[in-house]
């Protein structure tokens, strides 16, 4: 057993942290979110070319640094610390993860484009009726000659307004919630018939409703087998879920630290509010929650390579814990700040908003506890 990071991993963290400290100064972040387009594309380019770290989780044959889930976790934690709105999760963790796992000519062509910062991928998986069930799909992909025709509606597709490609889950067969018949496609975002409605999100990201209206794609858009894509989708969503847990490590750490700092500065009744024991205990509890978030994230990251059911159980326990703890830390950070905590001016509120969105991302605590129970306590039915 060894919980130490390698020198390369430490370097990755430091390099990214230094870069973000400058580019993601809070005022700059707020300005870029308010700008048209809602982001600064130069930052993504900088990550790709100046730092060359979009390659971190890819193998050396793929032109990467030979890392994996741990590298993703490290990077997501750093993004979380500055509440970055970069499409790293969507493009590298999810898009890159799907391509790595599926292999083939599309992967060979696109991975270098991801690494170079040219390709941005959005993950179009959720549907209005489907909640967190990855197989609950109405979007269809009908065989048409050599290719497929896609029809359907994907909701709240993060990063879609910026995307060059969409990773889409669709039914090539089976009924709405069946495991069989689910397929995964990677399509050019400009393909005719793709209609987007873009909007800002409460946490600063941009997203879209994506409608597929008779979108014709070629056979090589299919990643993995036709109708047998669900296990692959579950695997990349588990990887993504753990990456979001990594982001939560950064977000909640900052919520806690920011609160602690504030409690030392803010004076009421002639003393820093941090002297009031009820607030001390609360901040101690917040600290305990952050530490457990870190532990659970590490646990799940290290278990991503286990057989599917064990992996899923571990990821679900981690995400359930992270969802609950992120809520606790976020709410108490605001409460401890008092009125100033609910203003747009202070960073703390924006960390709270992101923490809140993390709670539900890829499944709420209830969803994941339920998944855990079904996997490990089936005999108790």
């Amino acid at each position: 057993m060894d919980f130490t990071y390698t020198e390369t991993q430490d370097m990755l963290r430091d390099t990214l942290a230094r870069f973000l400290a400058d580019t993601y100064d809070f005022d700059k972040r707020q300005k870029m979110i308010a700008s048209s387009g809602g982001r600064d594309p130069g930052i993504w380019k900088g990550l790709a070319t100046d730092l060359g770290i979009l390659s971190a989780p890819f193998s050396e044959e793929q032109g990467g640094l030979g890392g994996g889930a741990l590298e993703n976790m490290i990077m997501m934690e750093e993004f979380g610390k500055v509440i970055a709105i970069e499409p790293y999760l969507q493009t590298v963790v999810i898009g890159g993860g799907a391509l790595k796992a599926a292999g083939g000519p599309l992967a060979d062509a696109l991975i270098p484009e991801i690494i170079a910062g040219n390709a941005i991928i959005a993950f179009a998986y959720a549907e209005p009726q489907g909640r967190y069930d990855l197989a609950n799909l109405r979007t269809s992909a009908k065989k048409d000659g050599a290719g497929y025709v896609l029809n359907g509606h994907k909701g709240v597709v993060y990063a879609a307004p910026w995307a060059t490609h969409l990773l889409v889950t669709a039914r090539t067969g089976g009924s709405q919630r069946e495991a069989a018949g689910v397929s995964l496609f990677l399509v050019d975002a400009k393909t005719p018939g793709i209609v987007r409605r873009d909007y800002p999100c409460v946490d600063g990201f941009q997203a879209s409703e994506v409608y597929f209206e008779n979108v014709a794609v070629s056979a090589d858009a299919l990643l993995g087998g036709e109708g047998t894509g669900l296990p692959l989708i579950e695997q990349i969503v588990d990887e993504a879920t753990v990456a979001v847990c990594g982001e939560a490590c950064g977000v909640t750490r900052k919520l806690h630290e920011g609160t602690l700092d504030y409690s030392k500065q803010r004076q009421q009744f002639g003393q820093p509010i941090g002297r009031f024991q009820v607030l001390q205990h609360r901040m101690a509890d917040m600290f305990l929650e952050v530490e457990q978030i870190v532990s659970m994230t590490l646990m799940a990251t290290l278990k991503l390579d286990l057989p599917a059911d064990e992996r899923k159980a571990a990821v679900s326990l981690a995400k359930a814990k992270v969802s609950r703890s992120a809520k606790f830390v976020g709410q108490n950070a605001i409460q401890t700040h008092g009125g100033i905590g609910i203003t747009q001016e202070l960073a703390i509120g924006h960390y709270f908003k992101r923490a809140t969105m993390i709670e539900g991302q890829f499944g709420s605590a209830d969803f994941h506890l339920d998944r855990f129970e079904r996997l490990t306590l089936a005999d108790a039915a």
């Binding site: 909701g155 409605r197 999100c201 009125g339 609910i342």
Partner: protein
């Protein structure tokens, strides 16, 4: 002891129901259904209708324009207005400064201000908090210096709700720095259009403009606009804090909130069932009902005590703590219920494209509402301060 309404009370309830059904403004209802932000005129439209009917201030004594209703009738009124999802009237005039004026004001002050509060002609705001004085309100530093028959007021207030619309504000100011903090504060009514007042917006997490900074620079305030004695303003402030007992728990509004959560969860799908049929979600709704019922009957006991002539006491802290926590949990459940559609941010973003909607209408403001509701455990005396009050005043610690 019983829980039944008498035939007269039932008749009263029907009268209230009919009145609301026939008189509640339709365009206001429409805006509420759409989740639009409400402006000054929206609040005033319902206010004016109630004023015309004579029902705008049920809590006031009859001689000043109250309704003379019994506690049960007031309870029925708040139940029915919540059931019909009527907006809550702005509290600053009706529930806050009004009672202070009729309790502590001179006949001239009563004549000048009370009718205009009832009619809605004057919009009020509350100038208590300052950047350095939140929970520790008595440390406030905004200064009022006597100059003949005027005070010259200098300082800064903050978190002043709806000051951007206000005609008048009631302010706590320091008139004496040489005595114990609480003994050097005066209660002033200040015309918000006075020279020297600047109101600057503070934007809150959901993008709302509810609160403001209010700067006062050499603002001249006639001494005749001081309520009660000089340096005795803390008495008015404490009266006001303890007085506003009815409604502080927000029971009726939270009942309506639970219905709203249920209706969302009935519509939302969870596999082949509704979300409300999901045992985890259903249990959370049941737990809320449990806590809300506990709060409701605590409030009823407290109201019964008030009817029996006991003044409002520290149990208002209990109502505030539990009421605000329940309000927050309701917004939490709504946000959880809408799943992915909590994320889109609709402010200043019209939803005109009916062919490509962005999730269900009921989802549109769930996240901002959740963020905004964090205020309920902070304002009006934070919940920590309320617990301190219970520890000190009730438990004797």
């Amino acid at each position: 002891m019983n829980l039944e309404f008498s035939p007269e009370e039932l008749a009263f309830r029907d009268e209230v129901r009919t009145f609301i059904a026939e008189n509640y403004p339709q365009d206001l209802r429409g805006k509420q259904d759409e989740g639009d932000e409400l402006g000054k005129e929206d609040f005033l439209s319902w206010h004016r209708i109630l004023h015309k009917k004579g029902w705008v201030a049920p809590a006031w004594p009859v001689e000043y324009g109250g309704t003379g209703w019994t506690a049960t009738q007031k309870y029925i009124w708040s139940e029915e207005t919540a059931r019909a999802d009527c907006i809550r009237l702005m509290p600053f005039g009706l529930a806050m400064v009004g009672p202070v004026i009729y309790t502590f004001g001179t006949p001239e002050q009563k004549a000048q201000f009370l009718p205009r509060i009832l009619s809605g002609e004057d919009w009020w705001c509350q100038g208590y908090s300052e950047p350095g004085s939140g929970s520790d309100l008595a440390s406030l530093r905004t200064k009022a210096v006597r100059d003949g028959d005027h005070y010259i007021v200098n300082g800064q207030k903050t978190w002043t709700t709806m000051a951007q619309h206000a005609d008048w504000g009631f302010f706590l100011v320091r008139t004496n720095s040489d005595v114990k903090q609480q003994e050097g504060i005066s209660f002033l009514l200040i015309n918000m259009k006075s020279p020297g007042i600047t109101v600057r917006p503070i934007i809150t997490l959901g993008g709302e403009h509810e609160v403001n900074e209010v700067w006062l620079e050499d603002v001249r305030v006639p001494v005749s606009q001081r309520i009660y004695e000089e340096d005795k303003g803390w008495t008015c402030a404490k009266f006001l804090l303890a007085h506003e007992r009815t409604g502080i728990a927000g029971v009726a509004a939270s009942k309506r909130g639970i219905e709203r959560v249920k209706s969302i969860a009935r519509t939302e799908l969870d596999g082949d069932r509704s979300l409300l049929a999901n045992p985890f979600f259903k249990r959370k709704v049941a737990e809320l009902e449990m806590d809300l019922t506990a709060l409701e009957f605590t409030e009823l006991r407290s109201l019964a005590g008030e009817n029996a002539g006991k003044g409002p006491g520290p149990e208002s802290s209990l109502l505030k703590i539990k009421g605000s926590e329940i309000q927050q949990r309701l917004t939490e459940l709504s946000l959880e219920a809408v799943g992915h559609y909590g994320a889109p941010y609709f402010r200043g973003f019209g939803d005109g494209d009916n062919e490509h909607p962005i999730g269900p209408d009921y989802a549109h403001r769930t996240a901002p509402t959740y963020f905004n509701a964090r205020k309920t455990t902070i304002y009006g005396g934070s919940n920590e301060i309320q617990r301190n009050i219970i520890a000190k005043m009730v438990l004797g610690l």
